[in-house]
Amino acid sequence: MFGYQGKILHVHLDTGETRVEALPEEIYRKYIGGVGLATYLIHINTKPKIDPLGPENVLAFASGPLVGTFASMGDKYVVVAKSPLTGFIGDSISSSSWSRELKRAGHDGLVIHGRAENPTYLFIDDGNVYFKEAGNIWGEDVWTAEEKIRGELEDKNVGVISIGPAGEKLVLFANIMSDGRHAGRSGLGAVMGSKNLKAIAVRGTGSIRVANLRELSKLCLGIYEKAQGPNTEKYRVEGTPTNVLSLNAHGCLPTRNWQQSTFESAEEISGAHFLKNHTVSVTACSSCPVACAHNCVVKGGPYAGAAVSLDYEGLYAMGPDCGVGDSSAIIKALELCDFYGMDSISAGVTCAWAMECYEKGLLTKEETDGLELTFGNHEALIQLIHKIAAREGIGDMLASGVKRASERLGRGSEHLAIHIKGLELPGYDIRSLKTAALGWAVAARGGCHNRSGAYEPDLKGKVDRFKAEKGRGRLVMESEGRAAVLDSLTMCKFLRACLTDFYPELAKLYELVTGFGMSGDDLRRAGERIINLKKLYNIREGWTQKDDHLPPRVMEDPVPDGVAKGSLVTRQELDLLLDDYYEAQGWTRDGTIPKEKLNELGISVGE
């Protein structure tokens, strides 16, 4: 095969058994790779209604067909499992040379079954799989774990993904990390921790063939050139923190647990501020032509030496959402999330909820272990992050995410919990972004800005962002399809603006890599199939229409400030938007998938 290796590696941690499964060509054509392939793998390798942290849950990793080839433009892997945070599909993507190593070792995907008796790490060395004792790295942060594993294997280039102490302690929003990047959302680090699996190291020395190198080179060079142009300039210059001031001007910057939509200290935490005061280098992920990672360091003061690769979402969660306008403190808080291996969005939003609970008297000082949890108190925020990672005191309740924490606390705190399906929300106030509100409500993995770009029509002024109306369902559906295709080819979404004609151009790229005939329309159909496959998994796990919801605050508390003042999403508006979306998808009025739709898309799993 070209682009693919045609094989999936299965590893059983409980028995030590390994086996290689050859997948039929049809599966690759249907599900492309990445998120499509990994979703297919969890469908057929798990039973419904299992405990996400039990040994029956599997972790499915997959690379995309472009990984390791000239067309990669960012080597990424996808990991999918039942999420312990949401109880639905958990899928997360990270850039890493690990995905290229796995493919060069001969595998398009890896499925981890069972639970190891003792802390273990795996070493996949081309065709061999070694189960290694991980007692000496259990408890270590990911940086140390990666270094020790590379030292033990005497190979500084071996690809390593690992979990930190948060994953070991089953913090439900623990992530998986490698090369300083994160498979951040959905708590899949806790699934890895539940399996006693600290890390997976891979060394691959095989080759990856492409069908038409000459034509592929021409096409890719055109995209590479555009990747240096104005469409990606914002990522290269200030990076995604540039969003802080833009969203503030739109009145969409969630502040103090979404009590406000503008932040008075936005200038002090803007992209320009970080660039001037903290950025020491800008680097690229493996094989990426853009380079957006702004590596920031604190140069003085109490947090001197703290360092992080800064992205907007973590910045929002630890900054405005916690009322913190001190850029050094934000870097420190994010560094700790990396150190422990936790999703900074979920961590920040959960801390912001605790702060509001404290300020409103729903949490007493005794219950916060003596912490003065007021908004803006970054010393307390930092103590709280330590406690969450260790599941100590109040940290134990917060380590289960804002949905469970609010259910446990009660006292009306559920109204303040900013999540959808249990996944804490990213940094766009969707009360005045009505298309995005729909996109977030229906996203299979919960409150998420990456499984559709549904904020784009709102923020580009293609639609009236303050208005809910028919037609938004199709916009969200189309946006989800495009995201599913990128996540399955595993191409960075920052490159989407460099494509002239999205589906035909990507189909051509796919065809030149794999040699499989693929039209633009075929690829669009594959995206639709993958969205349906994810939804089918959720239905199997008990999804009902009430799970396509918005946080109470978004529907009941109007935006109090800024240009979006007065905005919210009413029940009537959400119902209109959901009806429109389900209709666009060809689903039933209650949002389930009719059998004819599954047949039309050629989906046969789960029967």
Binding site: E233, N243, L245, S246, G271, P426
Partner: protein, 93 residues
């Protein structure tokens, strides 16, 4: 008649200003003409596609928080006290 203009990201970099006030401009087109006159070719390059002369896709302009694409585009009328914000599209994270 006075309009406040706020620049963000690369627009702030090119103009060297976070905010300016402009007198006697009645439309967004007129305002951009004045701004180009004041800040020069680099701002013009950032705003307009040199081949078509049209506003680039990578430019977002809001008048009092509302996108001009949903009003009269460059022909959107401005009134005394309006705030115009100019920035690149928001995306990613």
């Amino acid at each position: 008649m006075m309009v406040t203009v706020k620049f963000f990201a690369n627009f702030r970099e090119v103009t060297g200003q976070a905010q300016v006030t402009m007198p006697n401009v009645s439309s967004v087109r007129g305002l951009l003409d004045e701004l180009v006159r004041e800040f020069g070719q680099r701002l013009s390059d950032l705003l307009y596609d040199p081949q078509t002369g049209e506003l680039r896709d990578t430019v977002i302009i809001l008048v009092n928080g509302r996108a001009i694409t949903l009003m009269e585009g460059l022909g959107t009328w401005l009134e005394d006290g309006d705030t115009v914000a100019i920035f690149p599209p928001v995306s990613g994270g």
